[in-house]
Symmetry: C2
């Protein structure tokens, strides 16, 4: 496994790999690697790709008062995971390698970034889209792998790639969950034991929604009310940012679930903001 | 010479060319090819590149009330010029190939697009940056060639490429001029004979500025006043959008010319908006 700190090293190594034939797979991360990231890496390796992982806590996707400073950065452990999982190249950009003193160029994906997390994290998806555009241009992969857990991010990145005609494929992989259903996340480590136990309520609420929809409940206000009730009953829940049922492509709120829908939520447990989602299908009742 | 209408054709042809070795050079145009475009094509061919020209009147860089509809589209003549000048591939996107019904993804280059033409053409550089990002991702050239005549565009595209780490080089080529100094432009054909004669005043003013600066005049207000006087004296000049002296990198207005400066102007002759610029150096007097 190679570790590169500069853009030119990455380009040289990827170019050499491409010269030997075969596809390049890319897993962009902010480090603090967990089973979710590992599932993306595994997919890339199984697809036969020369597999590149980037580890970079991207400042432009954090808002004022968010957790940029305290975001975990366990680099040695991350590199060991990459080595174990047969990653070929890890890009750990040196300070100043990705952003200069001032950033003037931004990729904006309108509408899709206005709701859901975008409403609570202004500028977040601008930062995500911009850093992904940069990383895609540096690594030049054939495929980039993202998790379904960040559902809005997945839709935004797919739209950006399609509309800017970026020459790569975006592969969205299933959310990896703990035994109690909690979606694996680097931020779960912020949770105290009682909070960690309570955090399972996010997935319980989503499962309830899936069951109700399958049983024929199509009215999204009714479905949301059921989920809200489950989550509000949990002691350490401090705030529900949103619980929404939206179209899987446009991310616009739905009144009724006709075919399938994205059910997404963001909840603060103590000071930790967690997100989760499922895609549900309407049943016949 | 090959002519491609679809993105996939372009990718296949460029990939095959790259497989035979050698660099790919790209000249993005809106057609109505003239000596300025030809100078860019010639540079690419002389650089030994497999040379790709795109011909596409990009709707997103035109504002309401601008000349999108009447912009000249002499496709047959353009293709003949490309053939004569040894272009390898012309990309003439079919309708709907570059933009869908709705565009959500935009590349914005802040600050650099606020002044000069950006002040009079809101959204223009957003359209230019976005279509260039798209075309660069489709053609994937090693070098793209632009003219110095569109000075602000050149600075904006260079900044976008640098900040988004796009894997290509931007080559800026000198402005091509008619015998009387008028910068060659597709829009010159809008000029009636008297207007065409008067249009030489833009370059006369710029030349005056160059001489005065060389003679030691450093105060930009004084230099601008001299230019304004020359242009305002011309009968068919309808409106001066701006005459500015700015830093060549930041495009911010300068009070004095210390080293070198970009002198840029936009003037309406009749209903035709013309732009021009020169880079001047301060002399010792």
């Amino acid at each position: 496994m190679e570790v590169a700190k500069s853009i030119s090293e990455v380009r040289d190594i990827v170019k050499a790999a491409r010269g030997r034939g075969g596809k390049v797979g890319f897993v962009p991360t902010m480090g603090a690697l967990h089973a979710g990231h590992v599932s993306l890496i595994r997919r890339s390796v199984e697809d036969g790709c020369f597999t590149v992982v980037s580890i970079f806590v991207n400042p432009t996707q954090f808002g004022a008062g968010e957790d940029f400073e305290k975001y975990p950065r366990p680099l040695d452990a991350d590199l060991k995971i990459c080595e174990d999982k047969k990653v070929d190249l890890v890009f750990v950009p040196a300070a100043g390698e990705l952003y200069g003193k001032e950033t003037l160029t931004w990729v904006n994906v309108e509408k899709l970034t206005a709701g859901l997390c975008g409403r609570f994290r202004p500028g977040h998806f601008r930062g995500v889209a911009t850093v992904c555009a940069k990383l895609f241009n540096i690594v030049q992969p054939d495929v980039a792998y993202f998790g379904q857990k960040d559902a809005q991010q997945a839709v935004v990145i797919k739209k950006m790639v399609a509309e800017l005609n970026m020459p790569l494929e975006i592969s969205i992989c299933p959310t990896v969950r703990e035994t109690d259903g909690l979606a694996v996340s680097s931020r779960n480590q912020y949770l105290e034991p009682a909070q960690r136990k309570d955090a399972a309520c996010l997935y319980s609420a989503l499962q309830k929604c899936r069951q109700s929809a399958k049983s024929g409940m199509r009215d999204t206000q009714q479905l949301i009310a059921e989920m809200r009730k489950i989550i509000e009953a949990v002691p350490t829940v401090k705030q529900i940012d949103y619980i929404e049922i939206v179209d899987t492509h446009s991310l616009q709120p739905l009144e009724k679930i006709i075919d399938k829908a994205l059910v997404a939520l963001a909840v603060k447990i103590g000071t930790t903001r967690l997100i989760d989602n499922v895609i549900v299908s309407a049943g016949s009742g």
